[in-house]
Amino acid sequence: MPNHSNEELVSQIESSNKRKYFLEKLSEKVFLFCSLLSVISLLLIIGFVFYKGTHPFFAEGYSFIEFIFGLDWVPSEDKFGILPMIVASIFATIGALIIGVPIGLFTAIFLAEIAPKSIARIISPAVQLLAGIPSVLYGVFGLAIIVPFLQNHLGLAKGQSLIAVILVLAIMMLPTIVTVAETSIRAVPKTYREGSLALGASPIGTIFKVVVPAAKSGIMAAIVLGLGRAIGETMAVILVAGNSLVLPTSLTDSIRPLTTNIALEMGYAFGTHQEMLFATGIVLFSFILILNLVLAKIGSKGGK
């Protein structure tokens, strides 16, 4: 009976199609789940850090004001004040920005606009490679070269100091800033330069008044990335900071930024002490958020 086998065929095709459609639907759900995993991770991280970090203030009666503005951090005596670390982090970051951003930016301009092509072709990839070097090595270098240098030439009792941290962070952010800024400067259309030169502007004037403003958003991104690397850096900073718990008043003071406080004490901390380290993490977190917002503001203002 030919009719029968025909029906069989149709039902076979239908069932195979059904399987196909089912697979399509299922795979889309699986893909969606995978992309939601990053949302879940972020929520887990923020949830955990904030839950742990706010617990002492909500449940154990510690004062948040005393935590932020307290000068003493003595976990064994139940004293948790992180003002010296906040100030240390702010000074170290701003110092590194003041040194690292102009040098990095000028180097990027040099490589993109002035350097002969043959030189730029060697140096640009080399700088890019250096952006990938583990940051610990910058700390090792700082401890072996910068710290003794400061000790001998500034007459410090201890070379590990705020200025050593600033120098190490500034050097560390250079490759990141140079690489990202150079890419954005190279992306500025050639016609901009030609137009400016045709109007009689000098090559240098063209660079600073036309090319750099046109590459502004990429340059801001470079600064934000470099900044992120500087604030979040931990292990390299431990090696050169000295880690004293004093409110820094001069460039030669030994400091302990927020990140190193977490790394140094997390290994043996428990109970309230551990929760206070999470609270330190929250402060670091907000710190990064604020700095990014400020930089975004500056960036958008420059555009008008």
Partner: protein, 274 residues
Amino acid sequence: MRKAKDYFFQSLLWLSAIITIATLCIIVGFIFYKGIHLINLDFIFGDYSPSGGGGILPMIVTTIYTIVISLLIATPIGILAAVYLQEYAKQGRLIRIIRFATESLTGIPSIIYGLFGAVFFVTVLKMGMSIIAASLTLTIIVLPVIIRTTEEALKTVPLTYREGSLALGTTKLQTLYKVILPSAMPGILSGIILSIGRIVGESAAIFLTAGTVAAMPENIFSSARTLTVHSFLVTQEAGDIELAAAVGIVLIVIILILNLSATFISKKLNKADY
């Protein structure tokens, strides 16, 4: 006057470039100068001995463990997530949230990941200070990198490829794994290589989750130290700059090889004729 100003700025640019290049050369030169005499086969393939003079094989093995485990988890998730964002999702609130979360994960400093891993994986999930806890933490760190590079790679696959394949009557899934993913493969691979670089260079998050035991790890539930953590600890505890620099040379060579292969693969991508 204008000429003088131009000269001033021009010399400023030259000066900055010289400072940058000189500093970076000095750092690399310093590390090689201090460490190169320690580098030999016994150093790289010898077991660690606490009394000194031993090799760094345990740290290399630990580093490889963390790379393999975190990539085994992060690569499939990252690629499928990027596929969803690029090929399936319709623009809307959900996509904006996922993109925002991915970007935010990139901005979190590694010490915060370390804090999270030290409580969530080490304590709550009872893994203890171990390679597996560190690898899972690293998975979250490299996930955004893989998602972003895969998305970029998928963007470069021309629309005509998809249309051509679908016009032949294939399903979306068949088009995906027979046409789109193979074309995007070079880009995806170079993203994975970049993630390896990130894992190799990571220190703070691993320090808080894998611990510091300087011995050959028995299995993935052992506490152990990676190359970067080793370099840090010998500097901090023993002040042994030469040993730290020798480990540094191994790290720099690894990063160099990774970068070269990433460039090589993405050059291949550019040569492919779309």
